[in-house]
């Protein structure tokens, strides 16, 4: 009976078998099915079925990435469809994005807007020179070869190409396998200068200076010896097995003028490239942003302190520098006061978990966002936090170990990411539609579209 009625395919009787197979519980939609006329529990003639919450379910997730966020991201990566509901809009960290909700208009203009007419395109160059626009207001954050495997890099690159956006090599060299995706790659010049060459700079349309990373601001990068395999070492021109420090800060940059000198070098080598400056979020982040603009940057990339990382001291992740939610409006307002907000693109990262976060970041004053962890979650990451060891990633993501990397394939990974981006774009469009906007650029700095979630949850923030 159950096998005949279940629309989700939980119950199955294999042809020729007398007994039904063990229920495929992961397909079950849960208690919500109760009012469904095909609810198996009610229909079983012997009352032999029962439904309980899966015990395993309780152990997934944390307050920033709740289990709804992780499973929701998996679902989007599998189906490409957006998800709705408060549990996908705010996590349980009690502040920042989790304390903000959109104030959607109840009626009025929203009906008039056709979804197909809503534009999610973002122009990254607000100065003179070559224009580069991305079709969706997000691109992939830097993850080096070594911190993740080549398959992950290729999957991200393929997805970026499919969606007309970018992804970033991080600081760890620019593998040749990425050649077909050069037009969708950003390469990073970071403090350790690992894998930076004239060739790598000339291959790309955007070059990113990494001054600091949100998860470990002021501490530089650190690839533990365990992850420096011979392949990784070759790419970075280093010795296998020895830990690689990317020291902080740039030892040749002590002023905005020094920074400008760096920018000029890059422009000498690749005159058309856009320059992105990735910085973390100290108390004077607004000044840093203005300085970067005057040094010639096209993009100021703010990386908030709660963002992801391959390895960082826990003390730094939690305590050093401010969360991105506060840095964005601080920079946005200051750039406006200085009269240069429309000349530089502000990109936010570090804790952008969902399309809702992305939209909130934009409403707080950034032009677009950079995502990292969500990409990895789409590839199956459960955030067990063991990325610092080469034999630590059970999903074959944060590793170059050949055996562990077996778990994923490039094609599968690319499709998962393409699906995720599709779901994100649909979510953004639906948010814009409900706000009565035609383009993502209209949303920038619209604080008035946001409200404190305390009103709806009655929970202290």
């Amino acid at each position: 009976m159950c096998a005949a009625i279940c629309p989700s395919g939980v119950h199955e009787r294999k042809t020729g078998h007398n007994r039904v197979s063990k229920p495929r519980s992961y397909l079950c939609i849960g208690k919500e099915c109760e009012n469904n006329p095909l609810y198996c529990i009610d229909h079983c003639p012997r009352k032999a079925l029962s439904i309980v919450q899966n015990q395993n379910y309780t152990s997934i997730g944390d307050s920033r990435w709740t289990r709804e966020f992780i499973l929701g991201t998996w679902k989007q990566a599998e189906t490409g469809l957006p998800l709705q509901g408060l549990k996908y809009e705010i996590g349980s960290s009690g502040g920042g994005f989790d304390g903000l909700l959109f104030k959607f208009q109840k009626e009025g203009r929203t009906e008039a807007i056709e979804e197909s007419a809503i534009n999610t395109e973002l122009e990254l160059n607000k100065r003179d020179g070559r224009k580069i626009s991305i079709k969706v207001p997000f691109y992939g954050g830097g993850m080096s070869f070594g911190s993740v495997g080549l398959k992950v890099m290729l999957a991200r690159a393929k997805a970026a190409k499919a969606w007309g956006t970018f992804t970033c090599t991080g600081e760890g060299g620019y593998p040749d396998a990425l050649k077909p995706y050069d037009d969708n790659m950003i390469t990073q010049v970071a403090t350790g200068l690992f894998g930076v060459s004239e060739d790598s700079i000339q291959r790309v349309k955007i070059v990113e200076f990494k001054y600091a990373q949100g998860a470990k601001p002021g501490l530089g990068g650190h690839l533990l010896g365990d992850k420096v395999t011979s392949e990784v070492a070759r790419m970075r021109e280093a010795v296998a097995g020895s830990s690689l420090f990317s020291p902080f800060p740039f030892h040749s940059v002590y002023s905005v003028e020094d920074h400008k000198k760096h920018v000029d070098w890059i422009r000498e080598i690749n005159p058309d490239a856009l320059i992105s400056v990735k910085v973390s979020t100290p108390s004077d982040i607004d000044m840093v942003a203005v300085g970067s603009y005057y040094a010639g940057a096209h993009i100021i990339h703010l990386d908030g302190s709660y963002g992801g990382t391959g390895a960082a001291p826990d003390i730094a992740k939690k305590n050093i520098a401010m969360p991105i939610e506060y840095a964005i409006p601080k920079v946005h307002e200051f750039l406006k006061e200085e009269g240069i907000r429309d000349k530089i693109t502000v990109i936010a990262s570090g804790g952008i978990r969902t399309a809702y976060d992305a939209a909130k970041a934009i409403a707080l004053g950034s032009d677009g966002v950079v995502i990292g962890t969500s990409d990895l979650v789409a590839l199956g990451c459960v955030r067990c936090g063991c990325c610092e060891s080469n034999r630590g990633c059970p999903r074959g993501i944060a590793t170059t170990d050949p055996e562990l990397s077996e778990v994923i394939s490039v094609e599968w990974g690319a499709q998962r990411l393409i699906n995720l981006y599709a779901a994100w774009r649909s979510t953004l469009i639906s948010i814009l539609k409900q706000l009565g906007m035609q383009s993502i650029t209209e949303l920038v700095g619209r604080y008035d579209c946001l409200m404190n979630s305390e009103h709806t949850k009655g929970k202290d923030d």
Partner: protein, 476 residues
């Protein structure tokens, strides 16, 4: 250049299996002992039995990182994972299970807790969790303490400092220099909240002696003149005893041996300080003042009266006992005392020591930013010895980790490891801020990002658009 101070760590594995975060349960009716789990687990949770390899042994739960790989790969769905009840019951809302886990890790390895992926906790919280420390982006010289390319000093002075020096005609210093002590880390071991066996105190003092810092000890609990150079005897009712002429000469003996003493605050405290100074002028005297409604008045009075060290203590959860504000936290208490002394232009002359609620390395840095010169740490030292803060010992019950049987050298190593990790984390914080001396960090409130301020500054417009600015601000 003086020799670099660094703390050598050495592995000190736990004597008892620590409490882990997850529990994996194997359904013996379903399990076919195929061994798939032993192959896929990256952390040795699953193993075949040593005595009979046909069977899989019980999962070693504390090693589990919650990656779900075995759960998903088990062909019979015989494995389930859940949160460990025992883990969730560790400590309380302030001393969280995560705090225990991190202290245990540091005590075992001496390493800084490092992990992948982003921060996993709440956005912000009360007390020390309501602030972030700053970093310097571009414009500053390199600071790299941990990897040893540049030296960052973590040493602090304890004692009175002269406001200015006066010189005679020949250029020699004329003004008397007050006695000071120097310790290489801004951490002193405080009186531990429970009474323990001798070996526990020995573990603590051996670690203090190795590190070159001090341990405050109630004489009623324990004293061993072998370690007198690192012991700070504490006297609770000295003025009363003094009036009754009770404690000499035993008191004199202890005073002569030690470099520093601590006395509890009472109305006659200045008389006691005078008496101690009469016995031994170079003695550093610290006055222990529980935070309360009149803390600031006392701080002011004692600072002007010439007391050298003011030890302000909150309760073990960092709460300040105050009738006006029940939720006041040690961070705000020290900030007020610091600001008061700055206003009176006397801040640099006295040493402010802070204790209560110092549970993690970040709290040391944050307490110093809020104005403390030195922090005193208590409970984490016990937790380093595997204590679970279950308080069974207080009811005369047995200790789950048998602290009575602890070898004091091993115990000292666990504490040294913890302090090593804490110091290295302090270096990370200092390095990120571009400071090369922890004394520069003291009272650098401008380099802290206070949650209430930044929220008000940046989210004001959002709040204003709702017309409820005041409500929300006050609910912070």
């Amino acid at each position: 250049m003086p020799k670099k101070y660094s703390i050598a760590g050495s592995a000190a594995p736990p004597r008892f299996q620590p409490v882990g975060k997850f529990v994996i349960e194997r359904n013996e009716d379903e399990c076919i002992h195929c061994g798939r789990c032993t192959l896929v687990c990256l952390h040795d949770v699953h193993k075949r039995r040593g005595d009979d390899p046909r069977f899989i042994s019980e999962p070693v739960n504390y090693l589990c990182k919650g990656c779900f790989r075995c759960i998903q790969e088990c062909p019979k769905e015989a494995l389930t994972i859940k949160n460990n009840e025992e883990w969730l019951l560790l400590g309380d809302s302030y001393w969280t299970p995560e705090t225990f886990g991190k202290i245990w890790y540091q005590a075992e390895t001496g390493s800084i807790p490092v992990s992948g992926t982003g921060y996993t906790g709440p956005f912000s919280g009360e007390g020390f969790d309501s602030m972030w420390t700053d970093m310097s982006e571009i414009v500053r010289p390199t600071r790299d303490g941990i990897h040893g390319r540049e030296y960052i000093s973590t040493s602090v002075y304890i004692g009175r400092k002269a406001q200015m020096l006066t010189f005679d005609n020949k250029g020699k210093i004329k003004s008397p220099l007050p006695p000071t002590l120097s310790i290489p880390i801004p951490l002193i071991f405080d009186i531990i909240p429970f009474r323990f066996s001798k070996n526990v105190y020995e573990s603590l003092v051996k670690a203090a002696s190795f590190l070159g810092t001090f341990m405050i000890i109630d004489l009623d609990e324990w004293f061993n003149s072998k370690y007198q150079a690192n012991l700070v005897p504490f006297f609770a009712n000295l003025s009363k005893k003094m009036n009754q002429k009770l404690m000499f000469p035993e008191f004199e003996g202890v005073i002569k041996k030690c470099k520093m003493v601590e006395i509890a605050y009472d109305l006659e405290v200045l008389k006691v300080v005078e008496e101690i100074k009469r016995l031994k002028n170079e003695m550093i005297v610290s006055v222990r003042i529980p935070f309360g409604d009149s803390t600031n008045k006392i701080v002011e009075e004692l600072a002007f009266a010439g007391v050298e060290v003011l030890h302000l203590c909150a309760d073990v959860n960092g709460k300040v006992i105050s009738s006006s504000d029940k939720n006041r936290f040690v961070k705000d208490g020290i900030l007020d005392a610091h600001r008061l002394l700055v206003e009176h232009k006397i801040r640099d002359e006295v040493t402010l020591m802070l204790s209560g609620g110092i549970a993690m390395a970040e709290h040391v840095a944050k307490a110093i930013i809020c104005g403390a010169d030195v922090t005193a740490v208590d409970l984490p030292l016990l937790i380093a010895l595997e204590c679970r803060y279950c308080k069974r010992c207080q009811n005369g019950l047995s200790c789950p980790v048998e602290l009575k049987a602890l070898n004091s050298d091993y115990g000292a190593q666990r504490i040294i490891n913890l302090m090593r990790a804490w110091r290295n984390q302090l270096l990370e914080v200092l390095g990120a801020m571009g400071l090369r001396d922890v004394r520069r960090l003291r009272g650098e409130v401008g380099r802290a990002i206070l949650h209430e301020d930044i929220r008000h500054e940046t989210f004001e417009k959002i709040l204003r658009s709702e017309g409820v600015t005041n409500n929300i601000k006050s609910s912070n």
